[in-house]
Symmetry: C3
Subunit: 327 residues, 3 copies
C-alpha cells in the first residue's frame, strides 16, 4: 500500500488525546479500556495502520500479530472489544455516528465550512499555494488544483478540470470538465442529508501514464485512497466511487460506473455503461462486456456479460433461449 500525508490535504483542527476522544463521543460509549495515553495524529485502516491513530472497526479482523499499543480502536462489536490484546479500545453504540463526530472534530475537509484553501491565479487556473506541480506539466484554463495535490512530470490537465485531495504521478492526461478527489457517497442510511455525510478524509492516487476522459468523477477514499493503476485508460463520463482500486492497464469505456471499494485487477477491459456493485473483486485479464451489471466477484481471465453478469457464452445462450422460446 502507498503512503501519503493526510495533513497535507486535511488540516488537523484540534489536538486530540485519547482522553479527548472519550469526551467527544461520551454519550455513545458503552464501555472502554485505555491502557496508554497518546496524542491522536492520524486515522488507520486495517490496510494501512499508522502510529498514534484511531482505527474504526466493525468487521471481524485478523490482527493477531499487530501492535496496538498506540492505536485507539473504536468498535460497536462486543466480540472485538473483548479481545484483550487490544490495549486501547472503546465500545460504542453506533460506529458511523462515532466516525462522523470524531473525524469532524479532528479534521477539516471540504464538506465542512471550516475548510479553507489559499489559491493563486496562475496561467488561467486556480492553483493552491500548497499544491506542487512539476514545471514540465501543462494545465489548461479554468482548472482548480487544491491543497496537497502533487502533479508529476509531463502531465496534461485540460480545461475546467478540478483536482483536489489527489496525487497525480507522471505522464497523466486528464480531459475537460473532469472532477478528481470529490466526496465519496458515504452515509448512514438512517440519517441522510449533507449534515450527516460521512467525512471522507482519504485521497485519489493516479499512477503513471493514465488517461482520464472528459466529464468523469473520481471520488477520494474514505480513509486510504482510490487508486488508478499505471497505463489505465478511462473514457468519458466514467464514475469511480470511493476506495476503488484499479490495477494496471485497465481500459474502461464511457459511462461505466464502479461502486465503492471495488478492487479490479490488472489488464481489465470494461465496455461502456457497465456497472459494478460495491465491495466486489474483479481478477486480472477480465473482460466485462458493455452494459453488464457485475454483482459478484469475477475470477481471473473471465469474460462476462449481462445483468447480473455471467460468463459471456452462457449469457449469449440465455439470450437466444429467451428469444426462441416464443417461436
Amino acid at each position: 500500500m502507498l503512503k501519503f500525508q493526510r495533513k497535507n490535504f486535511f488540516s488537523l483542527i484540534n489536538n486530540s488525546y485519547t482522553d479527548d476522544i472519550i469526551k467527544i463521543i461520551d454519550c455513545e460509549i458503552r464501555s472502554k479500556r485505555l491502557v496508554n495515553k497518546f496524542k491522536i495524529s492520524d486515522v488507520s485502516s486495517l490496510d494501512i495502520l499508522r502510529e498514534n491513530s484511531i482505527l474504526f472497526l466493525d468487521n471481524e479482523p485478523k490482527f493477531s500479530k499487530l501492535n496496538f499499543d498506540n492505536i485507539l480502536l473504536i468498535t460497536s462489536k462486543v466480540k472485538i472489544f473483548n479481545n484483550k490484546k487490544l490495549k486501547n479500545c472503546i465500545l460504542v453504540n453506533n460506529l458511523n455516528y462515532s466516525w462522523n463526530t470524531i473525524i469532524n472534530h479532528i479534521y477539516s475537509h471540504e464538506d465542512d465550512l471550516k475548510y479553507s484553501d489559499d489559491f493563486i491565479y496562475n496561467n488561467n487556473s486556480y492553483i493552491s499555494k500548497n499544491a506542487k506541480i512539476d514545471p514540465s506539466s501543462k494545465i489548461f484554463n479554468n482548472c482548480v488544483i487544491g491543497k496537497g495535490v502533487e502533479i508529476g512530470k509531463n502531465c496534461i490537465i485540460k480545461n475546467n478540470v478540478v483536482i483536489k485531495n489527489s496525487l497525480i504521478k507522471n505522464n497523466v492526461v486528464i480531459c475537460d470538465n473532469t472532477s478528481i478527489g470529490t466526496t465519496g457517497f458515504g452515509f448512514d442510511s438512517r440519517k441522510r442529508g449533507s449534515s450527516f455525510l460521512s467525512p471522507q478524509i482519504g485521497i485519489v492516487i493516479i499512477d503513471d501514464n493514465v488517461h482520464i476522459g472528459s466529464g468523469c468523477s473520481i471520488d477520494r477514499g474514505k480513509i486510504d485512497y482510490t487508486y488508478i493503476g499505471k497505463n489505465s485508460m478511462l473514457d468519458n463520463l466514467v464514475h469511480i466511487a470511493h476506495n476503488v482500486l484499479i490495477g494496471e492497464n485497465a481500459c474502461i469505456a464511457g459511462q461505466t460506473g464502479i461502486s465503492g471499494s471495488v478492487v479490479i485487477g490488472n489488464n481489465v477491459t470494461v465496455g461502456g455503461q457497465a456497472g459494478f456493485a460495491g465491495h466486489i473483486k474483479v481478477g486480472d485479464n477480465v473482460i466485462v462486456a458493455a452494459k453488464s451489471g457485475v454483482t459478484k466477484n469475477i475470477t481471473n481471465n473471465s469474460v462476462v456479460a449481462g445483468f447480473p453478469a455471467i460468463d459471456i457464452k452462457e449469457w449469449k445462450k440465455s439470450i437466444i433461449r429467451q428469444r426462441k422460446n416464443g417461436h
Copy 2:
C-alpha cells in the same frame, strides 16, 4: 406547492394584455371567448394558479371550483373550450406552438439571445448582481451563480458549479462541475432543433440539507419547479429532468437518470444507473435496485429491480429461470 417570483429569473420583456396575446398567435386561433381584459403578469399551471396569468391546458382538468376570472386559458381541445365557466379562453390549433410563441414574446430566458444577466467577479466566481447568497455560505472557484438565485445558510458550493434559475435552501452541499437549473428537454417531436425548443420558465428548488454530487445535471421546471426534498442525497453524474419532484431523505446513487415530471415520495433509495420513465409516480419508502428501468408507478414500500422494473423477488426468480432453462 411553493411559490416563487418568476420575474426574478425571467424578465418580462413585453407588457402584454389579453388582446395582445390574440395578435401574437393570430394564425393559430380557431375560436376565442374573452370576457375580461387584463394585463398578463405570469403563467399558471393547474398545480399553481396565479392571478392575471395564462394557463395552457390540454389535459382534462378538474377545475370546477376554480376562479378563472383573471386567467386566460389556451387549449387545443374543443371540449375544454366549450366549458362555459371559462370566461377567457382561446382555442388554438397547436398548444406547443402557442406556448413557444407566447412565452418567447413575454419572457426572456437563457435559451434566447435577448437574455442578459449582470455579473460581478467575487472570490473567484461570477455572481449575478441579482443573486442573494447568505454570507455564511461558501462558494469555491469558477462558479457561476445566475440572477434570481438565492442560496441560504451554511451551504457549500464547490468548484466549477453552475447554478441558475434556482432557490437553494440551507446546509446544502453541491459538488464540482455540477449544473443546476439547466434547460429541460422540452420540444415538439415534429419540430426539432434549438429554434423550436419549448421555453422553460420554471426553476429548481433544493431544500435543506441536500447533498448533490459532482457532474450532475438538474433541469429547471417548465412552469413550476423541479424539487429535491430535505436531506436527500444525489451521488455523481445523476440526471434529474424538468418538473421532477423528489421527496425527503432520498438517496440516489451514481449515473441514475430521472425523466421529466416523475414524482418520487419520501425515503426512497435508488441504486446506480437506474432510469425512470417520464410522468410516473414512485411511492414512499421504495427501493429501486441498481440498473433498474422503472416504467410504471410504484406503490409505497415496494422493492423493485430489472427492466421493466418489477418486484425484486419476482425479478430474481425470472433471472434464475432464464439461466436454468438451458440446463
Copy 3:
C-alpha cells in the same frame, strides 16, 4: 463530406517529405515502393482523400479509380501493398504504431506537450486568438474556445463549456459544463496508457439549429470528423464518441452513449440511457427505446428495444414470456 482545414486546429510541427516518413518508422518497415516524392501536407481517409497526404489503410479498399499519385499509402496488409496501382506504398508491421509515430511527428495536438494555444480573456471566457465567433452569438462565463474553432450566427454557449477542434454552425445552443472536441478513446489494445494514445486529429462539426444539453462529451474525429446534423437535440450527460455521424432531426435523451464510428440516419429518436456498439449503422426514422443496447445495424423505420436491441414488439413478447414462465 465536408471539408475543413486541419492546420487551423493541429499545427504542422515538422515539414515532412515522403523520404522523411520512411526514416521515422524505419524499424517498422517490411517493404516499400516510392515512385513519387512529395511534401506531406495532410492525412487522408477513404472518405476524404486529400492531395499530398498519407493514407493509413488496412481494410480491403475499393479504390480502383482513385488517383494515388500524390498519396502515400501505409498498410500492414501484404495484399494491399501488392496492388501495383499504388505508386507510393509502405508495408509496415503495425499500423497503429506507425500512425502514432508519424502523426506525433507531423502534428501537435492537445494530448501532446508541444501543443499550444493563445487565449484572450474576453467577457469572462478564454477565447483563442485563432477562433472566429460571429458577434451575434453569445458566450456565457468560464468557457474555453480553442484555436481554429468557428462559431456561426445566433449561437448560445452557456457557462463552463469547453469547445476545441470544432466548427459550430448557426443557431446552436450548448448548455453548461459540456465538452466538445475532446479526445477520442483510440488506442492499441496491447499498449495502453496516455503515452500510447492514438493521436486524434479530426474535428467536431455541429450543424445549424442543434441543441446540446449540459454535461455532455462529444469527441472529435480521428481523421475526419464527428458530426451532429441539423435540428438535432441532445439531452444532458450524453456521450458521443469519435467519428460518430448523426443525421438531421435526431432526438437523443439523457445519459445515452454512442460508441465510435456509429452512423445514424435522419429523424432518429433515442430514449435515455441507451447505448450503441461501435461501427454500426442506424437507418432513418428509427426509434430506439430507453435503456436499449444496440449491437447491430438497424434498418430504416425500425422501432427497437432491449439488449441486444430487437424489434420492440418482439422484445415486449419476450419480457412477457420470461415473467409468465414461472406461473
